[in-house]
């Protein structure tokens, strides 16, 4: 390099430096026009809206059905049952109405809201802990295990509550087995869990298929098939008593740990560097999510799509932060399943199994979500 060249470069450099300094001062200018900020609902109003929606849908659900019940009669019946507002002589409704509302519709409404909330919360949780937007509540084999447990119970001629119990126990056992096996999978722990879940699920699904093959085609096979399709028909108070505690025991920790869940979606190393023990939080979330999934599946059968579609729909509304996503997913899941169940029991007299309907509604809706404009996941 000759001296002239160096000189020229130096003067250019000086010029550049002064420009750069200038540039660094207003570096953000010129980017403003393209700022696509979130067009979302803030968390607290979203929660209030969803609670109001849930109340409205619940009241609506009571009035739908073969025995039409007006809102006034409905409120009177509920008020009387809970608070004893009316004397016998004051009753202006029929006993038939009371039975329809209290013994048939109420448990079914409560159960569909609970199951919807559980599946949706479990889906959102698994998506977070596995950092995988495609995770659903059955990712660790909870559904496959419950299905096998129920099929086995029906095959062995168990009665109603025992079928539920058997499904619940098998579901938890399956996930425990998945955990055990995942320890021996080579590679990452999270990947190991998912792979073991897929493998054990297909094993139990094969077991269920075998039971269907050998089951009595006149009464047991239809019963097994019907259970596997998922249905809330015939919901009883005994079902609710059975699942409400495990469901709450799972839903409450999921609500409480929702901020930590946010942090562990950034990956274990970043989470630990921020002071969050990612491993322990993950286990706590997985156990809670599994508990609510097993409870839901054991009373309702296998209902797909809720756990996948609802959290994604809610991300569109309140954003990705679990601070709001978790409660709103629970409410949204409850509303969704309640409304789908209303369709299920009112469109045909026989009642279409709800699992079929959620797939009919869920799959196209999910396609719409992933192909439509807006956020990528």
């Amino acid at each position: 390099m000759d001296k002239k060249n160096v000189m020229r470069i130096e003067t250019e450099d000086k010029h550049d430096i002064s420009q750069q300094k200038h540039a660094s001062l207003n570096v953000q200018s010129g980017r403003k026009e393209e700022a696509p900020s979130h067009r979302q609902l803030a968390g607290p109003p979203a929660i209030i809206i969803f609670i109001s929606l849930l109340v409205a849908c619940t009241l609506l659900s009571f009035t739908l059905g073969r025995y039409p019940v007006a809102l006034k009669e409905l409120l009177a019946i509920l008020g009387n049952k809970i608070f004893g507002l009316f004397k016998n002589s004051e009753k202006f409704w029929t006993d038939q109405m009371e039975a329809a509302v209290w013994n048939v519709r109420l448990p079914r409404v409560i159960l569909s809201v609970l199951v919807g909330a559980c599946l949706s919360a479990a889906g959102a949780s698994y998506q977070g802990v596995f950092q995988n937007p495609m995770a659903s509540p059955d990712i660790l084999g909870a559904s496959a295990g419950a299905g096998f447990g129920a099929a086995l119970a029906i095959f062995l001629d168990f009665k109603h509550v025992n079928i539920t119990l058997c499904a619940f126990a098998m579901s938890l056992l399956t996930v425990a087995l998945v955990f055990r096996i995942s320890r021996y999978v080579k590679g990452g722990k999270v990947l190991g869990l998912v792979l073991a879940g897929i493998m054990v699920s297909s094993l139990f699904n094969a077991g269920t298929s075998f039971l269907k093959l050998v089951a009595d085609p006149n009464n047991k096979l239809p019963q097994i098939t019907y259970w596997l399709m998922g249905s809330l028909a015939g919901a009883k108070w005994s079902d609710i008593r059975f699942v409400v505690f495990p469901m709450l025991a799972g839903l409450i920790p999921l609500l409480l740990l929702r901020w930590r869940l946010n942090v562990i979606t950034m990956g274990d190393e970043e989470a630990k560097a921020m002071g969050v023990d990612a491993g322990r939080i993950r286990i706590a979330v997985i156990i809670s999510a599994t508990l609510v999934t097993a409870s839901a599946v054991s009373v309702s059968g296998v209902i797909g799509w809720v756990g996948l579609v609802i959290p994604h729909m809610m991300r569109r509304i309140v954003g990705s932060s679990y601070r709001w996503l978790m409660p709103v997913s629970m409410l949204g899941g409850g509303i969704f399943l309640l409304m789908v169940d209303n369709i299920s029991r009112n469109v045909t007299t026989a009642g279409i199994p709800i699992g079929i309907l959620t797939a009919f509604v869920g799959a196209p809706f999910f396609l719409l979500l992933i192909t439509g404009r807006g956020e990528r996941y």
Binding site: Q28, K32, H38, V263, G267, E269, E270, G319, S321
Partner: protein
């Protein structure tokens, strides 16, 4: 206030990655770590952050033995800025920075007003306040790096570890990030960064450490380190190092480029 590493050795199974490393990073200084790919820079960071199984040797953070600290206690002393952070879900910038405040929250709580105020201050400090409600996925590379630095700042730790903070950035953004890093050190932070850019580390650091094959090659002021001999032994490339602007900058050129044979 400092980060002290003494005779640190670490091996994955039987493969030695770090071998008897000793150095100190001081408060109010930027320490840049130079080294070819795969010499153990990331492993060194992971050891300091307590992400790896037991190592031999000592790491002392602000006078405390790091191996005796819990994840939570360590995060109070050291904050980490990863090279690339690709959140799976589309958080807003505000939520991402809020995550840095998690350490002082109770297990079951979400950040409140104090945390939000701290986040606003950090964003302001780095000049990115208007990004607050932007989706993280819609920010540029330079903005992302500043967001990650903001997240480290709200953690209230006095030691900052930055993994190649200027990789994948254009010139202007590199300068922007480096100037911020330098001014953070001036404010009292202990800053340790890895980099592949000797020229930048000369201009923006107080100390340079070079490492190769898991061992410390040289450690000293930029003027001591940035010369032909060190660069040659570090990268195994013949380099000419020329001094510019009264030695305020130095420039490394591979000899093969400027030799007459070309």
């Amino acid at each position: 206030m400092s980060l002290e590493v003494k005779q640190l050795s670490f091996a994955y199974d039987k493969r030695t990655v770090l071998n008897n490393m000793s150095f100190t990073a001081h408060s109010r200084e930027v320490l840049s770590i130079l080294g070819p790919n795969g010499v153990g820079k990331s492993t060194l960071f992971k050891c300091i952050l307590g992400l790896l199984p037991p190592y031999s040797g000592n790491i002392t953070v602000n006078g405390l033995d790091a191996s005796g600290l819990s994840v939570r206690e360590l995060a109070k002393q050291i904050a980490y800025v990863p090279q690339r952070s690709e959140p799976v879900f589309n958080f807003s910038v505000n939520e991402i920075v809020l995550m840095g405040t998690t350490n002082e929250l109770k297990l079951f709580s979400s950040p409140g007003k104090t945390a939000q105020a701290k986040v606003d201050r950090a964003l302001q400090r780095l000049g990115i306040s208007e990004l607050s409600h932007r989706c993280f996925h819609h920010t540029s590379g330079g903005e992302r790096q500043l967001v990650m630095i903001a997240r480290a700042l709200v953690q209230d730790a006095s030691i900052l570890l930055l993994d190649e903070p200027t990789a994948n950035l254009d010139r202007r953004n590199q300068l922007l990030v480096l100037e911020q890093i330098k001014s953070l050190a001036k404010e009292g932070y202990t800053v340790v960064q890895t980099t592949h850019d000797p020229e930048h580390s000369y201009m923006f650091s107080d100390k340079i450490l070079t490492m190769k094959d898991g061992t410390l090659l040289s450690y000293g002021s930029p003027k001591e380190i940035l010369n032909k001999e060190t660069m040659k032994s570090l990268y195994e490339v013949d380099m000419e190092v020329s001094s510019l602007f009264d030695d305020r900058a130095r420039f490394c050129v591979p000899v093969s480029v400027i030799s007459d044979k070309n």
